[in-house]
């Protein structure tokens, strides 16, 4: 039993927060995990990704081999395509449809969405709308995590528990807002 996941986004969109929640949930569910993340130069508004590996048995490589990932979870549509070669042929993309345009040559968003839809299993989520509905557009990462939750091998209860842990220091309102974002994402994907 194992699951390899690529988390993708743009520096500052909070993919490491998604990773934190899944890592800790996996630990609680008795799984081994390795999570390779990006620090430093690449964080400054550039493309960032994290390789997250969950398994019942020992995990050797910190990096996922090409073709081994089951899931790409992306907070940005163009970024969801950048790592497609890591997906196995039956792999699934869960992504936001809201472009983050900080480059001059960002392709037309329709083309990006067509390309995403060409993948057999693609779940497209208007994360900005749902995050605003939950209380703040900053919660888009938790919307996407919610949308991906049913594909993850860790339990939903455990995920929610660590969303609480993650935002605890920011007060109850922020915790509840992020939990709402998670729920809205989950409902939108089902």
């Amino acid at each position: 039993m194992k699951q390899d996941i690529i988390l993708a986004g743009v520096g500052g969109q909070g993919i490491l927060s998604i990773a934190f929640v899944i890592d800790n949930a996996a630990l609680k569910d008795g799984l081994n995990f390795k999570q390779a993340e990006v620090h430093g130069m690449a964080q400054r508004g550039g493309a960032v990704q994290s390789h997250l590996r969950l398994s019942k048995s020992h995990i050797f490589s910190d990096l996922i081999p090409k073709g081994e990932a089951e899931l790409i979870i992306s907070v940005e549509p163009l970024e969801s395509l950048r790592y497609v070669e890591y997906l196995n042929p039956d792999g699934c993309i869960v992504t936001s449809t809201n472009p983050f345009c900080n480059i001059p040559d960002y392709p037309p968003i329709e083309d990006v969405l067509v390309e995403i839809r060409s993948v057999k299993k693609a779940v497209l989520i208007d994360s900005e709308k749902l995050a605003k509905e939950a209380g703040s557009s900053r919660a888009q990462n938790m919307v996407i995590l919610g949308a991906a939750s049913k594909y993850l091998m860790v339990g939903e209860e455990s995920l929610m528990e660590f969303i609480k842990v993650l935002f605890k220091s920011r007060g109850e309102n922020i915790v509840n807002m992020n939990l709402r974002a998670f729920q809205l994402g989950k409902e939108a994907a089902s």
Binding site: V10, G11, A19, D23, N24, L27, N32, F33, K34, Q35, A36, E37, V38, H39, G40, M41, A42, Q43, R44, G45, G46, A47, I59, F60, S61, D62, L63, I64, P65, K66, G67, E68, L78, E79, L81, R82, V84, E85, Y86, L87, N88, P89, G91, N102, I103, P104, D105, Y106, P107, D111, V112, E115, S118, V119, R170
Partner: protein, 534 residues
Amino acid sequence: MTREILLGDEAVALGAIHAGLSAGYSYPGTPASEIMEYMIRASNKEAGFKATWCVNEKVAYEEALGVSFAGKRTLVSMKHVGLNVAADPFMNSAITRINGGLVVVVADDPGMHSSQNEQDSRYYAHFAHVFCFEPSNHQEAYDMTRSAFDVSERFNIPVMVRMVTRLSHSRSRIETREIKKENPICYGQGQDWTLLPMNACRRFAHLVDAQPEFIGLSNESPFNLLDLKDYDKSLGIIASGIGYNYVMENYSNQENCPSLLKVSTYPLPEALIAKLVNHVETVLVVEEGYPLIEQTIKGLFGIPEKKLHGKLTGHLPRTGELSPDAVREALGIKPREHLRIDSSILASRPPQLCQGCPHGDTFNALNQTLEPYSQASVFSDIGCYTLGALPPYKAVDSCVCMGASVSMAKGGAEVGVFPSVAVIGDSTFAHSGITPLLDAVASNTNMTVVIVDNALVAMTGGQPTFATGEKLVQIIKGVGVPEEHIRVIVPLPKNLEKNIQVMKEEIEHNGLSVIISLRECIQKAKKKIKKGAK
């Protein structure tokens, strides 16, 4: 025994703390920064040891030497190029008689994710004739750091732990062991630490004589694993560090893996290598970094009647980072099927300055100031402002190593570059910019130094800086730059015209000027607001 989720860097830090650490020192640098960040957090919680950022790696290393002299255990950590700066104390400390355990952790950056080069620190360990550990996973990072202290005290040498980005910045779970007490204070002996020729010759001979013992230690080390398969003698693999992970990743279980030697310590375990090489026909060497093991085994003439494969033979890429896929190909295993898309849509998204970054305003002013001068050169340094090399600014012409902006501007100016401008951050200035500025003062070189003071070390995650604001101005005055040519500007869009005027005046001044462009990093300002709002 407890279990914790840690970055590879943090596992190193915790290993050191549990080994009875008295003091840790470092200068920020990706991918090593998280070692010191963890130590600082831990020392705030449970007092007992010191953990401090230093002004540069050489200073950090020497502070650690002082701790070792006093008989206490100490860790100094840095990124790979940091060891170039600390190479002087590193090489020489190998000849002293290290007293309290001294462990130097160097994090290499194969693939240059956040660095100017991808040099391999194992060569430094070899160069200095000291012992080196190379962990492949988090548990080993913890365990080997602990062992490194024991080896350091047993042989009275500094010991290196070589990390790489993928392990430094990967998170996983480790199991910790008992916590050791600090060493009592116990001074080193003068004759062992005073490297006058009479002492240094004796000490160096001693170090050279000890090499067979180090090799013996490698041969016996529980971290080096040899597994010979009797049923297949065609291929054998020597894999070190995370190269080992990529090999194992490609075999579904230990059983179907060919004969394998996992190397985790240097100098190399010669006896184990001989056993593997004698057992098989073809040897594949899988190592992250330069082909050190491969080249050592190959020598000038190779091994008679055997084939040796690796980076030198093109079986693995000679540059960049290894991956499970590259290793799979070298192992001759069919690639996995994977999804494909039309990749022409993938516009690249390079890192860039944050919205509202003070450096952006400095570059706007500088670009406009320099427009009339067709021959201007802007020598940059290393920090967030190096991103000024990319569009839309395209404002700088060089970035080589910490401090080089000031020295290169001086050299350039002396042979006719005009305007010759240096751009350097406050932390890089404290690290390596003050000494070349002293040089420029001595010659009153016709150049302009722009210090972009954002009040922290932004590039590496916001560590504290040593020379910012008024203190920075005082240092520059103290170095001897004339007061009327030390100008402070505030890089904001509304000040653009004023700032251009200041830059023009100082460039036209026939001599040395320093312009301090002072405004806090946006990320730091945001954090302050967040804190205040709580």
